[in-house]
């Protein structure tokens, strides 16, 4: 008997013995099963700035996990060795939710990140761990492409504190040709995450010749401001040739600076540049009095002047989770 997976907009109809597009949700004897629940292929404590999250517990370590598989197939994927492969081909360890939460406590990580591949495809593992973590005062963070159906998304968000969601481009054509996905479900996921009270930061990877035109960047920044609010942090990330896009050059620093200028010109309060060292593009400035609030170098916090989440000079409340 075939089964249909309702988790993401691909709504795969899966034949017995086969998996959905994500490779990890399998039809076994007419029952939809996840083969990666409790079997991460990667567990590491990272700086929270690496996610990137710049407005969530800065300077802390976040226990980050992933399983193999992904429901998108981005031609530029930086983690394709785990995202575009079968579980049969990748080593994993047994870490049920309880063990992960204990490890986070042992390593003194105040939060857990479900990341590297995409937590959507290890949904049940993410959900069970986040629910348990919430009881133990460990916070949960998603780093995701946001390609999920509304019902499971809303169900998961009740245990999620923050999310960095990729907005990879502003056209369906881009999503279809580069990522094997569509744009609208991602935008809807972002809007509902914000509406549910999750701290949302947005990442846009700028790929030369594909989504680096000033007009495309302006459109993206405009959409973020109009739908998520001017306070939503936006990260422009540098592309490096990877996987099936080795023929394109890395994004230039000039393009990243230009993107930041455009997005700030569109009225966004916090615009950052990632995957590259940048003098100003990694710091947080007060949107009201423009004073430096958080100075970063790479993933290191050099100084944090915030006082109770406010600018020490003009007392403006700064969007984020600061303690």
């Amino acid at each position: 008997m075939k089964v249909q997976c309702d988790l993401c907009p691909k709504i795969c109809i899966i034949e017995p013995g086969q998996s959905g597009e994500c490779r990890v949700r399998v039809n076994i004897d007419g029952v939809l099963k996840t083969v990666v629940h409790s079997f991460p292929c990667s567990i590491n404590p990272d700086p929270v700035e690496k996610k990137p999250l710049f407005h969530f517990l800065p300077g802390t370590s976040i226990l980050s996990i992933a399983t193999v598989g992904c429901n998108l197939h981005c031609k530029n994927c930086q983690n394709w060795e785990i995202s575009q492969t079968n579980p049969e081909d990748v080593e994993a360890a047994f870490y049920p939710p309880q063990k992960l939460v204990e490890l986070a406590k042992y390593l003194r990580c105040p939060s857990l990140a479900y990341t590297y591949s995409d937590p959507i495809i290890f949904y049940e593992y993410t959900y069970d761990t986040a629910k348990l973590a919430a009881k133990e005062n460990i916070r949960s963070v998603l780093v995701t492409a946001g390609y999920i159906n509304p019902q499971p998304w809303k169900h998961l968000l009740q245990y999620i504190d923050a999310a960095n969601i990729d907005l990879k481009g502003m056209t369906d054509d881009f999503y279809r040709s580069v990522c094997s996905a569509t744009l609208k479900p991602v935008q809807n996921a972002m809007i509902s995450a914000k509406a549910e009270g999750v701290l949302v930061e947005v990442t846009n990877l700028i790929i030369p010749t594909l989504n680096d035109k000033p007009e495309q960047i302006r459109q993206l920044a405009h959409w973020v401001k109009a739908n998520l609010g001017a306070e939503t942090p936006l990260h422009f990330s540098r592309f490096f040739p990877h996987y099936k896009m080795r023929h394109l050059p890395s994004t230039s620093e000039k393009t990243l600076d230009m993107a930041r200028e455009i997005a700030m010109g569109e009225g966004l309060d916090y615009v950052y540049i990632g995957n590259i060292r940048s003098e100003r593009g990694q710091n947080t400035y007060c949107p009201s009095c423009k004073v430096l609030l958080i100075e970063r170098s790479g993933y290191t916090i050099l100084q944090n002047r915030l006082q109770d989440g406010r600018c020490p000079d003009c007392n403006k409340e700064i969007y984020g989770v600061w303690k």
Partner: protein, 60 residues
């Protein structure tokens, strides 16, 4: 047509109409999301994860 025959046909028509409405209503209501069941055995090789206290090499 006898009165009995008329009532029989009326009941059939109303029943068919009701069944149609129920079928349409079922289609109109979104399917409830059903969790996937956890498979207890990982299909790939099992190993002890290395460098569990170090920063990851993966992006994100």
């Amino acid at each position: 047509m006898t009165r009995r025959k008329f009532i029989e046909q009326l009941i059939k028509a109303v029943s068919a109409g009701l069944l149609g409405i129920v079928a349409l209503a079922k289609k109109a209501v979104p399917r409830k999301f059903i969790r996937a069941v956890r498979l207890k055995k990982y299909p790939g090789p099992m190993a002890t994860l290395k460098n569990i206290n170090k920063q990851s090499k993966w992006s994100g």
